[in-house]
């Protein structure tokens, strides 16, 4: 039995009106404990809907979502409990901060779980430490923090519930290279200290390839690819046709391959590409 499983899920917005939009079309996949999965797809590919499906914010029109073998939409209570087990960080989460102090805001989730005041406090401090927010900031108003700190506080608000599955929708959007790196490190820290499953939703193949072990590619509401990073990148030309943003080195490799050079078009890191291209050049020199 899989830990988290989606079975033949379909979902449409504005159902039964002329504006009906099919967001998910017969999606099936399963996720095991501790996996790090990258979910990619362009805007409108159904990524956001899929994420909300996994924590019962969206109920499938047909098909089902199972957590530990149980349907998460069985009843209202199960749906709500699922939200504490499957934590979802929305895009630009800092725009949802509302409390007087940072610590109170982080405590919102754990308090809703019905934990004791003591446990809530413990989890808040723990989450703040994972995201690297210094104690001095916890009593400040969240609206007085810098942009990057706000983002971290908001993510801590979900991490404080210690979900077994953590889903992050484009957590580094709008951040500069350092900010992006910090976020990725936070996610790693959360994974290693809880053993949680992580789903990282992103437009950027580069970010996903560097972090995840497995990639789900969404296209037009359906799962177009599902496999480890290597196998997904071996179909780089298809990814480009889907309009996805593959790393520049991959695009270069695909172009060189199309020109007839014996290169591996599935490379995605600069180091790997450099090694591969050097080998290709050496081999050519050898024949001369």
């Amino acid at each position: 039995m899989a830990f988290l499983e989606v079975r033949n899920a379909c979902y449409s917005y504005s159902k039964g009106t002329p504006f009906e939009i099919k967001a998910l079309d017969n999606c099936s996949f399963s996720v095991e404990k501790g996996e790090y999965i990258g979910v990619i797809g362009h805007t409108g590919s159904g990524k956001s809907t899929l994420m909300q499906l996994l924590n019962a914010l969206v109920t499938p029109d047909s098909g089902s979502v199972l957590l530990d073998g149980k349907d998460i939409n069985a009843d209202k209570k199960t749906a709500r409990d699922t939200r504490f087990r499957v934590g979802l960080v929305f895009q630009y989460p800092e725009y949802q901060l509302f409390e007087e102090t940072v610590s109170k805001d982080i405590a919102f989730g754990p308090t809703n779980m019905g934990l004791s005041a003591e446990d809530v406090h413990k989890q808040v401090l723990w989450a703040a430490q994972i995201v690297g927010l210094p104690d001095a900031l916890l009593d400040k108003s969240p609206f007085d923090l810098s942009g990057g700190e706000k983002r971290r506080a908001a993510i801590a608000g979900v991490m404080a519930m210690k979900p077994e599955v953590l889903i992050l929708d484009e957590p580094a959007a709008g951040l500069d290279p350092i900010g992006r790196k910090v976020i990725m490190e936070m996610i790693d820290k959360y994974r290693t200290s809880t053993g949680a499953t992580v789903l990282l939703v992103s437009h950027s193949m580069e970010t996903v390839a560097a972090a995840a072990d497995r990639i789900l590619v969404l296209n037009k509401g359906a799962i177009a690819m599902d496999g480890d990073v290597q196998s997904v990148f071996s179909r780089a030309d298809e990814l480009i046709t889907m309009g996805l943003d593959v790393p520049a080195v991959t695009r270069i490799a695909v172009k060189l391959k199309n020109m007839g050079y014996p290169v591996d078009a599935g490379v995605y890191s600069v180091e790997e590409a450099a090694k591969m291209l050097t080998a290709v050049l050496r081999a050519k020199e050898g024949t001369r």
């Binding site: 810098s146 709008g174 290279p177 437009h203 270069i252 060189l256 450099a274 090694k275 291209l277």
Partner: protein, 278 residues
Amino acid sequence: MKEQLLKFENVTYRYEDESEPALQSVSFGVEKGEFVVILGHNGSGKSTVAKLSNSIYLPTEGKVFVNGMDTSDENNEINCRKTVGVVFQNPDNQIVASIVEEDVAFGPENLCVEQKELRKRVDEALQSVGMYDYRMHETHKLSGGQKQRVAIAGILAMRPQCIVLDEPTAMLDPKGRREVMRAVRKLNEEEGITVLFITHFMEEAVFADRVMVMDDGKVILDGTPSKVFAQTQLLKKVGLDVPEVARLAAALRENGTDLGDVLTEDAFVQAFSRKMEG
């Protein structure tokens, strides 16, 4: 030397409740027709430059000149804003009207452009950014990249000589980012509009004539893209990166193959195939 359209002279800017100035004695000029990119991490002061360049902010110390006009002189305000248009980061928060063409018309309407000319300007601006077919669409239903192109058209319709774009791609998906980049490059190359493009995406800087790097409210590097991106260590130190293609070329150089100054994918592919054939 060519004529300087935008000129910062020892500009210091301090936000009201901050002790540290956001800009510290910054000086630079942008020549007519140039495509200049300003790179810097969040909080490096690069966005303050945008608001200073058309007298939305006035320098605490020093002077900003637009076409020789001092921005701190109140009489120049409208002329400065007509000459230098600014496009902001969040596409949702700079669109005023519900219908595309009505939004594009907002600027020239404020300049009291008469109706016939107004119509012409709106249509031409929308054509320039490839949004003419969407002129009657509702603005809130557009994608991020489309909204941002409408915002650019809204500035174009005021017929500025220079456009300053303050992180216009930060909130967009890769497709939107490409759309905006393509539109901006076209304006610079085909219509000769001077561009000052502020961003933290390194790849967007490779097409520029000139790149300036900001850190801590100061300009720390200023030169051609290949010259700036050769400074790998310094860029790393200020929290920036080198574009992937440049990193790949550098890695190959270490392995003993020098492809020369390559920053774009096409240049790399060409240089590589030359090595293979030659």
